[in-house]
């Protein structure tokens, strides 16, 4: 088992708007010294509520924002030390799936165009067979490439978003609340699809959600966050069977366990 992502004591602070002229503005610690490692092909779930820092952590792993301290290594490379063009090339290897299946596709573009978007960064010509292959892998038809996003249901759009994420054959997928907006029966279909694709393509996944039941169904490892702090980190089975923290217990109650 080789390490793919290594996050070492990463912190991120936000300066709040200044409320008093003479007082220093408040500083909000979004992520406080978070650490984890993610092996190739494995799945780490990050659970927490809004404001827990889980999305900020995901954004730092995706190199959308830089940590104030600590380091994030992807396949041994510190991604926040890379130059802009090196980082753009590196992005082929880690892709993201978003929460809102209605917002993550440009409404004015055919879905084939959107799916091929990551390929265009490195290819001058986009090979149509790759788009078709990605569409079929997520359970849609190659002919769907010529349709617009509004012609699809929420679950189908999430499949399209997944097709875009896997079209470059990445090593890592970051899924930020990727099934939270979906109906229960659609949710199960998408979770199964993600598991199938992982097994088929050897993808590692960082799965972020507020719903412990969803995370429990797909993750090997679990990291529970609250107010930017890591409360628990370890094997999913162990944390779910013997939660060490009251907060984790309350999440279990809410998930209907």
């Amino acid at each position: 088992m080789t390490t793919l992502v290594e996050v070492k004591s990463v912190s991120r602070h936000y300066r709040m708007p200044r409320e008093h002229l003479l007082r220093a503005p408040e500083v909000l610690t979004a992520v406080n010294s978070a650490s984890f490692t993610l092996n190739r092909g494995e799945t780490l779930g990050i659970v927490g509520e809004s404001g827990s820092g889980k999305s900020t952590l995901a954004r730092m792993v995706m190199a959308f924002e830089a940590p104030d301290s600590g380091e994030i290594r992807f396949d041994g490379t510190d991604i926040h030390a890379l130059g802009a063009s090196d980082l753009r090339r590196m992005r082929q290897r880690f892709q993201m799936i978003f929460q809102d299946p209605f917002g993550s596709l440009d409404p004015r573009r055919k879905i084939g165009w959107s799916i091929a978007e990551p390929l265009r960064v490195t290819h001058a010509e986009t090979p149509a067979h790759k788009t078709a292959e990605a569409l079929e892998q997520v359970g849609l038809r190659a002919a769907d490439a010529d349709k617009y996003p509004h012609e699809f249901s929420g679950g189908q759009r999430q499949r399209i978003a997944i097709a875009r994420a896997i079209v470059t054959r990445p090593d890592l997928i970051v899924a930020d609340e990727a099934v939270s907006a979906l109906d229960v029966s659609v949710q199960a279909q998408i979770l199964n699809l993600l598991m199938d694709l992982q097994d088929e393509l050897g993808l590692a996944m960082l799965f972020i959600s507020h719903d412990l039941a969803v995370v429990a169904s797909i993750c090997d490892q679990l990291l529970v966050m609250q107010h930017g702090k890591t409360l628990e980190y370890g094997a999913a089975t162990q944390i779910l069977n013997a939660p060490a923290h009251d907060y984790t217990k309350s999440l279990l109650t809410a998930a209907g366990a």
């Binding site: 509520e49 029966s185 999440l251 998930a255 209907g256």
Partner: protein, 324 residues
């Protein structure tokens, strides 16, 4: 009190709701479970007299023995002002951002109950205390954006309670809230229903929340109420294949299930997708996706069967079992 008999809602050839029958008595806590397009929100709108203009309605709705088919918009307004209240999924969107939450709650008290400013304020303070808002006097002066999501939902509940409704319709009231907060809001609704002998119609796709909030449950699919019964009984032993599929598809928060090869087990799923309103099968709406389908399911409308005490379901397979 509220009695729906064979209520159907059509949009041209498309059916949003088919022959729905429901009775709501004071103090009932009824959950409506269903996915997008199941018709659960349409049902709530009909109870409020707020069905879209383009819809054609048939069937009867009686409220306190009065047939609402003859009701004018003015009658409905009076009903909505005093008898039925509704809370929504997104509390921020339902509050006026420019108005102090105290004024938002006091306005209907003064308008509908004719209270003086002082009396309305005193009543608002009581309501805030009742829904568990700490330091109510200070909160009255705050604006929606100064409150947390849970506090906002409590303000909306206080607003809904302002005119002592007999029925509170909660449409996905916990969906936008964090898990802990959602639990407390659910428990609050249960307490208020019991203390006030107020009926609660809890609409949600979240089975865990419905299980906690309600005593009875109606499961909807494709505009049909496919199964009804006591919440515990239905969730413990679902009768309708759709209910079984829905409960199976919901992951449980226990340890990661593994299959025989040590790989992660896949979740049970309902095959296919919900058809559009106009493409639903004529017979059982679940035909085409059902794992135990019979040849006549898609064409013939199944009759009501009783799979258990106080329970009902519409399913050909079930009626065969019962008659056999």
């Amino acid at each position: 009190m509220f009695d729906l008999t064979n209520l159907s809602v059509h949009f041209g050839p498309a059916t949003a709701l088919r022959e729905a029958s429901l009775t709501i008595r004071p103090g009932d806590r009824l959950g409506i479970v269903g996915e997008s397009g199941s018709g659960k929100s349409m049902l709530a709108l009909c109870l409020m007299g707020m069905a879209p203009e383009a819809a054609t309605l048939s069937g009867t709705l009686t409220i306190d023995g009065r047939d609402m088919a003859e009701a004018t918009e003015r009658d409905w307004q009076a009903l909505r002002a005093r008898r039925v209240a509704m809370i929504f999924q997104e509390p921020m969107a339902a509050l006026n951002p420019l108005s102090r939450v105290g004024d938002t709650v006091m306005d209907p008290l003064r308008l509908h109950l004719g209270l003086s400013k002082q009396a309305a304020r005193a009543r608002a303070l009581d309501l805030f205390a009742e829904v568990g808002i700490p330091d109510p006097a200070a909160r009255l002066r705050q604006f929606p954006h100064e409150l947390s999501g849970g506090q906002r939902q409590r303000v909306l509940i206080a607003l809904a309670l302002a005119c002592d409704p007999d029925l509170l319709i909660a449409d996905e009231p916990t969906t936008a809230l964090d898990a802990n907060v959602a639990l407390r809001i659910t428990d609050l609704l249960v307490r208020l229903s019991a203390e006030r002998n107020m009926a609660l119609l809890f609409i949600s796709h979240d089975l865990a929340a419905v299980a906690r909030a309600t005593s009875d449950i109606a499961v909807m699919y494709g505009g049909d109420i496919v199964e009804r019964g006591p919440t515990r009984a239905v969730l413990d032993s679902p009768a309708h294949p759709y209910t079984r599929g829905l409960l199976g598809a919901r992951p449980s928060a226990t340890s990661l299930p593994r299959d025989a090869n040590g790989k992660r087990a896949r979740l049970p799923t309902i095959p296919g997708t919900v058809p559009g309103m106009a493409e639903l099968p004529k017979g059982c709406r679940f035909a085409g996706r059902c794992p135990v389908e019979l040849p006549h399911c898609a064409s013939e409308r199944p009759a009501l069967t009783k799979p258990g005490p106080d329970r009902s379901a519409i399913c050909h397979v079930l009626s065969q079992e019962v008659s056999a």
